[in-house]
Symmetry: C2
Subunit: 422 residues, 2 copies
C-alpha cells in the first residue's frame, strides 16, 4: 500500500498492453499507479516500418506517455529502466531506486532474438524502436547518396543491396516499402546511378510468407512483392551472418544493410520473476494472466506466454496485449469490490499486413481481403487505432500527399557529412 493508504499498482512498460491498463485503472481514484518505461513515449509499433522508409516522422507514431496519462492525479510516469522484480517482497527495482506494489502488471514487451546467434546482432539492424527505425532510414538514404557519388554501376550495385530476414508482417511491409522507395520514389532524382539497380531480398525459413495468415494470402503477398522487384526466398535457412553478408545454403548475399525481422524474445526482466519461462523467455501465465501462486502479479502482451486452453500461445500482436491490458485492469477493479475473477478470453479480430501503396492482405475469421480492399481495411484500422487525434490527421495528410506526389517526405539525414569522416 502507498503512503496514502491507497492500493499501489506498478506497471512496467507503456506499450499497447500497459497503456490500456493504466488508462482504465486511472479512472479509479482509490488506486495509486506508477508507470515505468525506458522510453518517454508510447510507440505505435505497427507503423515503425514507415519511419524506417522515410514516409513518417518519429513524432507521427510516438506520443509522450505523460501527455496520454500524466494528467490523472493518481498516475506517476517514470522514465527509467526496470531491471529486477522481487516478488517475495513485492518490489520493483529501477534507476538506482525501487518501489513497492500491491499489484504488478508486467508489460515490458519483447526485443529481437537471434536464436542463439547473438553475434549476428552486430551485422544486422532490428526494428523494435525509433532508434532502430532511424538507423535503417539513415542506412538506406546514405546508400543512395554514396552510390550516386561513386558514379560506378558496380559499386552502386553492391551498395544498393538490401536483405530482410523474416517473412512475417514486419518483413513483408519493410520489403514492399523499401522497394517503393528505391525503385520508384527517388528514381528521377539520381542521375549518375539508376536506383532500379537496387536489389531487395526477403528471406523466410518457413515454406511461405505470412505464416499466421491463410496460405492463399501468403502466396498473394509473395507474387505482389516479386512484381515490385523483391526477390522472395521462402524455405530458406540463414546459416550465418557476418561482415561479408548473409550466408545461405550454397550462396552468400553480400550486403551492408541486413535487417532482422525474424524473431523476438521477451524483455530480460522476465527472468527476474523466478517463474517458468518458455523458449523465447516469455513468462508462462495462467487463465488470469497471473504467475503461479501470485494473484497480484500479472504478465501481459509480448512478454507473456498465454496458452491456457489453446493449441498454441496467443500471438505477439497488439490486439492480444490491448485486450489483456483492459482485462487485468478490470480484474484489479473487481478485486477491490471482492468480485470473483473470470478467466481471460481473447477475441481474434484478424490480421493484416500491407505490401505497398494501395496493396495489402487482411483476414478476419473467414473473410479474406487482398489488394486495394485489403489496403483500405488496413488504412481504416490503423488510423482508428492510432492514439492521438492530431497524429491521425497529420498521418492521413502525409499518406494522401505522398500517394499523390509519390514521394517520401521524411527523407532527412539528420547528421551532416564531413569530409574527414567519409
Amino acid at each position: 500500500m502507498s503512503k496514502s493508504g491507497k492500493k499501489k499498482v506498478v506497471i512496467i512498460g507503456a506499450g499497447f498492453g500497459g497503456l490500456q491498463a493504466v488508462k482504465k485503472l486511472s479512472q479509479n481514484s482509490d488506486l495509486d499507479i506508477t508507470v515505468i518505461d525506458k522510453k518517454n513515449h508510447h510507440l505505435f509499433q505497427p507503423l515503425l516500418y514507415q519511419v524506417a522508409t522515410a514516409v513518417l516522422s518519429p513524432a507521427d507514431i510516438a506520443i509522450p506517455t505523460r501527455s496520454l496519462v500524466g494528467e490523472s492525479k493518481n498516475v506517476t510516469v517514470v522514465l527509467g529502466e526496470a531491471t529486477k522484480i522481487d516478488i517475495s517482497n513485492k518490489t520493483v527495482y529501477y534507476q538506482n531506486t525501487s518501489t513497492n506494489y500491491d499489484y504488478l502488471i508486467l508489460s515490458a514487451g519483447a526485443r529481437s532474438s537471434y536464436f542463439g546467434n547473438d553475434q549476428w546482432a552486430q551485422h544486422t539492424i532490428g526494428l523494435k524502436n525509433l532508434k532502430d527505425a532511424l538507423k535503417i532510414r539513415h542506412k538506406l538514404l546514405i546508400s543512395f547518396e554514396k552510390a550516386e557519388l561513386s558514379g560506378d554501376p558496380e559499386v552502386a550495385k553492391s551498395l544498393l543491396n538490401y536483405v530482410i530476414i523474416g517473412g512475417g508482417p514486419t518483413g513483408v511491409e519493410l520489403a514492399g516499402s523499401i522497394a517503393e522507395l528505391s525503385h520508384q520514389i527517388i528514381r528521377d532524382e539520381f542521375h549518375t546511378i539508376d536506383p532500379a539497380l537496387s536489389k531487395i531480398t526477403l528471406i523466410e525459413a518457413s515454406p511461405r510468407l505470412l505464416m499466421a495468415f491463410s496460405p492463399s494470402l501468403g502466396e498473394f503477398a509473395k507474387r505482389r512483392l516479386e512484381k515490385r522487384g523483391v526477390e522472395v526466398l521462402t524455405g530458406t535457412r540463414v546459416l550465418n551472418i557476418d561482415e561479408k553478408g548473409v550466408h545461405l545454403e550454397g550462396k552468400t548475399i553480400h550486403s551492408d544493410t541486413v535487417i532482422w525481422a525474424a524473431g523476438v524474445q521477451a524483455n530480460a526482466i522476465a527472468a527476474t520473476l523466478g517463474a517458468p519461462l518458455d523458449r523465447s523467455g516469455r513468462v508462462m501465465v495462467d487463465e488470469f494472466c497471473n504467475i503461479e501462486g501470485h494473484p497480484e502479479v500479472f504478465v501481459i502482451g509480448d512478454i507473456a506466454n498465454y496458452t491456457k486452453g489453446l493449441e498454441r500461445p496467443l500471438p505477439g500482436v497488439s490486439p492480444v496485449a490491448m485486450q489483456q491490458g483492459r482485462y487485468v485492469a478490470a480484474l484489479i477493479k473487481n478485486d477491490l469490490k471482492n468480485k470473483k475473477r473470470k478467466p481471460f478470453h481473447y477475441i481474434d479480430k484478424g490480421s493484416m499486413a500491407t505490401i505497398g501503396r494501395t496493396d495489402a492482405v487482411a483476414e478476419v475469421g473467414f473473410l479474406k481481403m487482398k489488394g486495394f480492399f485489403g489496403w483500405l481495411a488496413w488504412l481504416f484500422v490503423h488510423l482508428f487505432y492510432q492514439v492521438g487525434f492530431k497524429n491521425k490527421i497529420t498521418i492521413l495528410i502525409t499518406w494522401v500527399w505522398s500517394y499523390i506526389a509519390f514521394s517520401a517526405e521524411a527523407r532527412v539525414i539528420q547528421d551532416e557529412v564531413s569530409a574527414e569522416k567519409e
Copy 2:
C-alpha cells in the same frame, strides 16, 4: 566547361541563397549545374527553434534538396563537404574528389562563433542545424524527467535552469518557447515537481533586445518575455562559460543547459578563396557579389559581407540570401547573352520575431506590428515562405492543434534510457 560543352556552374550550399540560384539556373538547359551540400536537405532555419522546443519534427522544416531540384536533368546534387576552393584553377575539392567550374556560387552559410572563446563551445549548444535542435530538445525533455525522478525541489531547481545567450530573434524566440514548454504546456503532467520551478535567463550584451528592430519593439519583447517568466539581462557581458555555468560580472548562473545564439562566423571554406575577409570570416564582395578580379566567383548570403554603398553590411537573414541567389543566377544567364552586368540592389522587406503563441513583433519600413497582429504577420510570412506544399499544411495543422490543445506533440526522446548508463 563540362564534357558536354555546356558551361559548368558549381554551387556550394543549398540554403536560402543556393537554392534560389539553382532553381533559377536549372531552367537554362545550356548550363550544367552541380550543388554540393553536407546536408541532404534544405533547412527552413527560421523555424529551427520550434524543433528545439518539440513543437515541430525535423521533417516538417527540412526538405531533401534532391526532391526540390534533383529532377532537373542538368542539376547534379552531391551530398558532401566542400573543403577547398582553388580559384586560379577554378576547382572545388570535396569528399576525396574535385570538380571544375566556369562559375562558382559560394553560399555555404555560417556557424556559431564564440568571439575567440572556442572552449565555450563544449559547454553550450548552438542552434544552426537539425542536430543542434534535437540536442536541445533532448536536453530539455530529459531535464524535466530527471527532475521528476529526483522528487527533490532543490535538485529540480538546479536541473530546470536554462540560459540563452544572445538577444537577437533566435534568442528571443527560444526563450519564449522554452518558457511556454516548461511553465505551461507540461505543467499538469508532472506530479512530484512543479515545472514552474524552471528558470529561463536570456542574456544580451547590447543595451536592448532585438537590436535590428526599432527600440520600442525591443522593449516590447523584453516586457512580454518577462511576463512569461523569462529573466532578461540586457547590457550584460558573459565573462566565461565552463562546467559550472555562465559567469557574469559579480554573478554565476549555474546551468547544465546553456544555449548559444549570440554570434556567427562564416563557414571555414571562405578562407580558402584567398580573398579579403571581415572579422567574422565573411568574404568581402563587390557590387556584383564577386570577389576582386574574379567575375566568375560569386559569394552570397551569410558567408558574404556586402557593404558596397551601404553604411553597414547587409544582415545575415534569409531575404538577403534569397535575393542575392536570384540576382547572381540572373547575372549568369545575362552573361551567356553578353548583356552588361547591373549591380545588386537589396530590397528590405522588414524583420520579424515571435515571442510566443499569438505574440510577435514585426517591422516593415515605417510600419511596426506587435502582439497578436505581429504574430499573424509572422505566421503568414513563414507559411508563405515554407518550401513544400505538404509541409505548409502539416505545419499549419500542428500549430493549430498545439494552440488548441496547448501541447507540444514532438516531445519524443528518441533514445531509450538504460539503468546502467543513468
